[in-house]
């Protein structure tokens, strides 16, 4: 699996098929990227679970924080890791102890751990590194509010009007691969210095 550039179809099939997403490192602080992504994905109809031991007892958009993946009371399709590259491995190891196993490990923009990815893939999981599911969802659905972003998709069908809790179609004709050269470089640099 090449983790430098993902085919749109790979990302699309993940976002089309997962229903529950545990977000490790979710923050209740409303200027953190994890908060934006959590809220956005919840509004698109995903069953979101915030995981952060520092905030147990609080809730994010009505969803109670849990301390660890093991504390979640239902099967999780995807684990979205909002942690630095150096904190990825323990989360992946914990995820691989779950039963049933999650289907996808997703590491946020700026986060990349190739060894952890290999471990998850060896167990049959799909892995995405250094991407944001909010950005990918907005891009692939060509959501009307994504002003000026190159969605790399075309469609001659009438665009849907997004409303709360509605899943948008991600199945548009795509062109070009997904390149985030700069952020890949940034993630590698961070890994080297931490």
């Amino acid at each position: 699996m090449n983790h430098d550039a993902y085919d749109d179809n790979y990302i699309r099939s993940i976002l089309n098929n997962v229903k529950s997403i545990a977000m490790v490192g979710a923050s209740p602080v409303n200027v953190r990227p994890s908060y934006f992504a959590f809220k956005y994905l919840a509004q698109r109809g995903y069953d979101m679970i915030p995981v952060n031991p520092g905030h147990v007892g609080k809730a994010l958009m009505g969803k109670p924080f849990v301390a660890s993946l093991a504390d979640i009371d239902r099967p999780i399709d995807m684990i979205d890791i909002f942690r630095n590259s150096s904190h990825i491995m323990p989360v992946v190891e914990e995820a691989l102890k779950l039963s049933p196993l999650p289907k996808v490990i997703w590491m946020q923009l700026g986060a990349r751990d190739d060894a952890a990815a290999e471990k998850a893939e060896a167990a049959g999981l799909k892995v995405v590194m250094n991407r944001c599911p909010k950005i990918e969802y907005g891009r692939l659905s060509s959501e009307i509010s994504w002003m000026g972003v190159n969605s790399r998709t075309l469609s001659s069908k009438r665009a849907p009007i997004p409303t709360q809790g509605m899943r948008l179609s991600l199945n548009r004709t795509s062109f070009g691969g997904g390149q985030t050269a700069a952020s890949d470089r940034a993630a590698k640099n961070k890994t080297e210095t931490t």
Partner: protein, 426 residues
């Protein structure tokens, strides 16, 4: 469903434009409105806090303009774009994200005269310094790098002389210096040259020229290549530091590989204000649909006119990179194999006065200060666009007194040649 790469002409017609969600309108509607209602207080708060993107106020974004932005981002191969009121506004907004007072850019000496003025006077007043380098001598860029350098600025095909810049060589200098390369791609358009493929980190355009293409609307655009790491060494605090105006958001951390386009919108356009009218965006979008057809015709006509002039007894020299003997011909074949563009200069044996006479004798060419129109245009740079420069700077930027600039339109080439011939004989 397979991921298939559509061609340039398909993107020129379709990219960014889906039938309207409410009416089904197939052409892109002109959303001629200043503002947009919020669903509720929470929606308004998320829009203002950058947690969600959506329409707030046309100074910050507009659905018609958004189609134009996605279209040009797709044609250039960038991650995102931001449309603004003019090419000059694009340059201002880009540099505001990169420079603080006391910082520097290195700019090619061969630039549109208006850009030379903007950098020399307006930007200097902001405390942004410019070091000039010679695009024909790449080492001059390397020599100009200092600890204060924040960006390098070049034109892909330079106005007025139509010279071709070695983008890859200068991109290598920028990479080594750890600064972004900004390419003004106005005269080439992405049909001829895609600077991002050659190492550009940011592309700017005056949409006023070939992209709009009909001489009826001013506009500018900024394209983010998504290639630059803005957080390295904290050199670009607008992108890497918490922004007080947005409760401490860090732009690159939040927006990844289209962070620069977002910074230009939410820190540049929002606060400086040079918004593009949605009506102009519509006119420019309509122009872009025929860009590949027009641009090829512009280039083919220009080559025929340049060939004619190069054998004319009243002409002492023709600077057109598409001519086999031209000093930029090798670069043209590498960077712009489909054509050398439609803006070029030639020199008259009769000097300054012959230039003035030629302009007044032409019947089809219009004497005006623009390029990239369907109509053929003529100007005498020394007395107009480049008149503020001293004589030495005029020569260095390709606008010596005997030089005339043409922008070749999409009329029949035989008529253009006949008009030039009668005016040169008159």
């Amino acid at each position: 469903m397979t991921d298939r790469l559509p061609g340039f002409s398909t993107l020129a017609v379709h990219a960014g434009a889906q039938p309207d969600p409410t009416t089904g309108a197939r052409a892109t509607p002109i959303y001629q409105t200043t503002s947009f209602v919020f669903n509720d207080a929470d929606h308004a708060a998320s829009l203002f806090g950058l947690q969600a993107f959506g329409n707030i106020y046309t100074r910050i974004g507009n659905p018609t303009n958004a189609v134009l932005e996605e279209r040009v981002a797709a044609l250039e191969g960038g991650t995102a774009a931001l449309a603004v009121a003019s090419g000059h506004a694009a340059q201002l907004v880009v540099l505001q994200q990169l420079l603080k007072p006391g910082d520097e850019i290195i700019a090619a000496r061969k630039l549109y005269g208006g850009s030379i003025n903007q950098f020399t006077h307006a930007f200097k007043a902001f405390g942004w310094n410019v070091a000039w380098a010679d695009p024909d001598e790449v080492e001059s860029f390397e020599r100009a790098v200092t600890p204060h350098t924040k960006a390098i600025f070049i034109e892909s095909i330079a106005n007025p002389a139509g010279s071709i810049t070695d983008i890859e060589a200068i991109a290598a200098v920028a990479r080594k210096a750890g600064v972004p390369l900004i390419v003004d791609n106005t005269l080439a358009s992405p049909y001829l040259i895609k600077p991002i493929d050659h190492g550009a980190d940011i592309v700017v355009h005056s949409l006023t020229k070939f992209l709009g293409g009909h001489g009826n609307s001013l506009g500018g655009i900024i394209v983010d290549a998504g290639t630059f790491d803005w957080s390295k060494d904290n050199k670009y605090p607008m992108l890497s530091e918490p922004r007080p105006e947005y409760h401490g958001i860090r732009i690159q951390e939040t927006f990844g590989n289209f962070a620069f386009a977002i910074a230009c919108r939410v820190l540049g356009l929002r606060d400086l204000g040079p918004a593009l009218s949605p009506f102009n965006a519509f006119m420019i979008l309509t122009g872009i649909e025929t860009l590949p057809l027009r641009m090829q015709k512009h280039c083919d006509n220009a080559k025929a006119v340049a060939e004619f002039l190069s054998t004319h007894p009243a002409v002492s020299a023709v600077n057109y990179a598409g001519l086999p003997g031209d000093r930029y011909n090798a670069l043209q074949r590498k960077y712009a194999p489909k054509g050398a563009g439609a803006v070029f200069t030639f020199s008259l044996k009769g000097g300054y006065d012959a230039g003035v006479n030629l302009v007044s004798n032409l019947k089809l060419f219009s004497h005006l200060a623009n390029v990239g129109d369907t109509r053929s245009l003529v100007i005498h740079p020394a007395s107009t666009t480049h008149s503020q420069l001293d004589d030495a700077a005029k020569v260095k930027s390709g606008a010596a007194p005997e030089v005339v600039r043409l922008s070749i339109g999409i009329e029949d080439k035989e008529d253009l040649i006949a008009d030039l011939d009668q005016a040169l004989r008159a």
